[in-house]
Amino acid sequence: MMRVVLPAHLRALAGLEGEVVLDGPAPATLHELLLTLESRFPVLRGTLRHLPDGPRRPFIRFFACGEDLSDLPLDSPLPAAVVQGLEPFYVVAAIAGG
């Protein structure tokens, strides 16, 4: 089980409330996590990263376990505490604009 926290606009877009709980085999890498999210919630395709399989959107950041994971290579392993469901993976919309 893995936990993901999405920004409010994306929760509304996907019809979600609260944390996303991903059951089943836990994604091992950042790329696998994005693929899992996009597969389970197709409406999120293109909202976190450019289509079709492009880089992270500039105003989207990834955090977990107190660390900024935004600029890690996509094939980087996720923190063990995230994979084990002990800590959530945060998708954060940058505070920018008005």
Partner: protein, 371 residues
């Protein structure tokens, strides 16, 4: 009984305003997609309960929404807009070349007779088409790959394809308008495109009469006069009587020929409306008076329509997509402002009243006239 459905896109969501044919009492629904920029909403003429909406965000990118029940429920459809082949580059405001990057959908134009076909005008300027109700999009690449493409440059609002006109009698014929490249037309369904900018003069260009580079803000036409096009350019209101091959200025006695919005009366092909704005550096009405101007002679001679519109201390803008007409008799007009007002006239512009006053800044207004 006849109904009117007004589709309003704003900086922070979409709204639907509905009334019966008397157009007096309005029911307001929204915000739809609250917090997102809704650049454009438009209903299918072939299946009026089908409505498309362009939902955009600087954070989260582009979503396209579709309703099949008149806006009661929505589903996200396809949002993958990939330029065909190697996109190449276009001009920037600094004269350098920049790669084409998809940013957002400005305009959605459903086909007049096929409910599954819909066109999208996007930034950076290109035309896309879906033939499955918006699920999948393919670029109509003959436009962007026109030999002039490297010379297209953005206007202040970006390099956007903001207007699409379809010929109801000839599906192979389309016109599009791009800021700041100009008008382009095709007569072969989009395989080949011709610049249609002769007669335009733009003093900010090194060659004011250049074939490419004009900041066309809006074009419109009447179905009964398919060869007659009207244009609100950055400066100048223009008219073409030959499908865009040649333009002549018809600004006449307007207090300013700068503006964005333009619309043609539903039943009178020679009656056209514009909303003069003071200048490109002062995006508000001249003298702080919001006036719609009407010409019943296809241009040159204009009359101010002011009854019910603020005539002092008014400093809102009316953007290019924010003026529309219904198909009732008498013709109704609808105008959205950056101050969040949507004004309606049920008598062809003689008198106006606000349907709603305090929406977010209005980006676009479209109207459906329903049986």
């Amino acid at each position: 009984m006849t109904q009117v459905r007004v589709l309003v896109g704003t900086r922070k969501g979409g709204f639907i305003l509905e009334a019966d044919g008397r157009r007096r009492d309005w029911r307001i629904t929204g915000p739809l997609f609250a917090g997102w920029e809704i650049y454009h909403m438009k209903g299918s003429p072939a299946a009026p309960e089908r409505i498309y909406a362009s939902q955009s965000s600087g954070w989260f990118g582009q979503i396209v929404q579709r309703s099949d029940d008149g806006g009661k429920t929505w589903q996200a459809v396809g949002n993958q807009f990939l330029y065909e082949g190697e996109p190449g580059t276009h001009a920037g405001l600094d004269g350098k070349q920049y790669p084409w990057v998809f940013r957002r959908v400005w305009h959605l134009e459903p086909h007049p007779s096929d409910p599954e076909t819909v066109y999208a005008g996007v930034e950076d300027a290109a035309l896309f088409c879906s033939r499955d109700g918006g699920q999948n999009w393919e670029e109509v690449a003959g436009l962007r790959t026109h030999s002039s493409g490297a010379y297209w440059h953005p206007g202040a609002g970006g390099l956007c394809l903001h207007t699409i006109l379809l010929d109801e009698t000839n599906p192979a014929r389309l016109w599009v308008a791009i800021s700041a490249a100009g008008v382009f037309g095709t007569t072969d369904g989009g395989r080949s495109w011709q610049p249609l900018n002769r007669g335009l003069q733009s003093s900010y260009l090194p060659n004011p009469e250049a074939e490419i580079g004009h900041c066309v803000h809006r074009i419109a036409r009447h179905p009964a006069r398919p060869q007659v096009l009207y244009m609100q350019k950055h400066w100048d209101v223009m008219r073409s009587d030959d499908g865009g091959a040649r333009w002549q200025e018809v600004s006449g006695n307007l207090p300013s020929d700068f503006g964005f919005a333009l619309a043609v009366h539903a039943h009178e092909p020679e009656t056209v409306y514009v909303v003069p704005i003071k200048s490109d550096s002062e995006h508000f009405p001249p003298d702080g008076r919001l006036r719609v101007y009407r010409s019943r002679t296809g241009g040159h001679e204009w009359e101010a329509l002011t009854r019910g519109l603020p005539q002092e201390h008014c400093y809102v803008n009316v953007l290019r997509g924010a003026l529309a007409v219904d198909a009732l008799e008498p013709c109704g007009l609808y105008m959205g402002t950056t101050g969040g007002q949507v004004y309606a006239s049920a008598d062809a512009g003689e008198t106006w009243q606000p349907i709603v006053r305090d929406l977010p800044a209005v980006l676009s207004v479209e109207v459906q006239t329903l049986p």
